[in-house]
Symmetry: C2
Subunit: 211 residues, 2 copies
């Protein structure tokens, strides 16, 4: 197995944190997104969409979605469970993971990519291959989604150590990656969100957060 990765990018970080939490050692191949390496022919041969992360199995099978990679690894290495231990828990985690992904990760991506002065990304309004000019209206829409993200993060953490309760899960991984990504556009956890600030400090101190 190997992971096509990009050290600075928020989405591959989700897979790296997951792998680290599982205690797995999967070789990584660094792809330089900021330099556009993911859009060159050599990488498009691996993933025609130009997206990272990609997990490649020894037989050449590839998975090009972070959640699919994580779910595959969870099946092979169930301990510690990061996607739930019962059908109900797994469904709840999927619902919350999606909220953190859409209102956190994707919203930040819209704010970041659509800034008219963001030269590296000015024709990459969507992640991956394909020219799509910046759409400045998405900056405001993304910020509204981030307001909602922070609101719900604070609510979920009220009385809970982690977002889904007393166990660290994939939901925390997606959320902390979103919080750190939002810093790229100068958006941070509001000072009054004390549950979120406590959680952020705790989750950021886990060894996997540096993976």
């Amino acid at each position: 197995m190997k992971l096509y990765d990009c050290a600075v990018a928020p989405n591959p970080r989700r897979a790296r944190m997951f792998i680290a939490e599982k205690g797995l050692d999967i070789p990584k191949v660094e792809v330089d997104i900021l330099g556009g390496e993911n859009l060159k022919e050599s990488f498009l041969a691996i993933n025609p969409r130009g997206l990272l992360p990609v997990l490649e199995l020894d037989d050449g099978t590839r998975f090009d979605e972070a959640m699919a990679i994580c779910r595959y690894l969870e099946e092979l290495y169930p301990e510690p469970p990061l996607l739930g231990t019962t059908p109900v828990e797994r469904a709840q985690i999927e619902c919350l993971q999606r909220k953190m992904e859409f209102d956190g990760m994707i919203a930040t991506s819209e704010v970041f990519r659509n800034q008219p002065d963001n030269e590296s990304f000015c024709y990459r309004s969507l992640p991956g291959a394909g020219d799509t000019p910046a759409i400045p209206g998405l900056i405001d829409r993304g910020k509204k989604s981030l307001d909602r993200f922070f609101y719900w993060l604070e609510k979920f953490l009220d009385g809970n150590e982690f977002i889904t309760g007393d166990r660290f899960t994939m939901v925390d991984i997606t959320a902390v990656c979103a919080v750190d990504f939002a810093k790229w556009v100068d958006i941070t956890i509001p000072d009054k969100n004390t549950n979120s600030l406590r959680w952020y400090e705790e989750v950021s101190a886990r060894p996997s957060a540096k993976a």
Copy 2:
């Protein structure tokens, strides 16, 4: 169990098709999205995001994401398998499902919701609760994603009865719901895409397509 549903909406249709393919009979509660019922207090008490579908269990537990609903039902009722039968298959299906969802369903939603003359949705650039004015630039971006959706759909179906091979799966459900949704914005499978046209006719003839 009951399903909060909306007969005309494309996303709840994914859950309905899945339920029908499983041969399950789950009572439905109709919520009128076009009339804005999903944004009224009575429904926001059920799902604060105002989104459908929602599956409610007998103990009141709710899942508010179509894929989480489907995954939960797949665990309870494994036959016929719609999400894969091995870890590799499940990961492959998740990757393809996401492609169909992002480039098909979500792209169409962006085209549909952001038309400046779409009065019902002119302040609902994103699905669910929250005012976000239409962003006309998303119409072009969505159409480009739909070009990619149709391109890949045709490629995947080359030599395959269904998108992932010889078995009907969730990927086909999301894709056919996206194709029918795209008709709302007058975008249809290109005439030259003969694999896709053959597949569309076949999938549309399944009883679940009318669920």
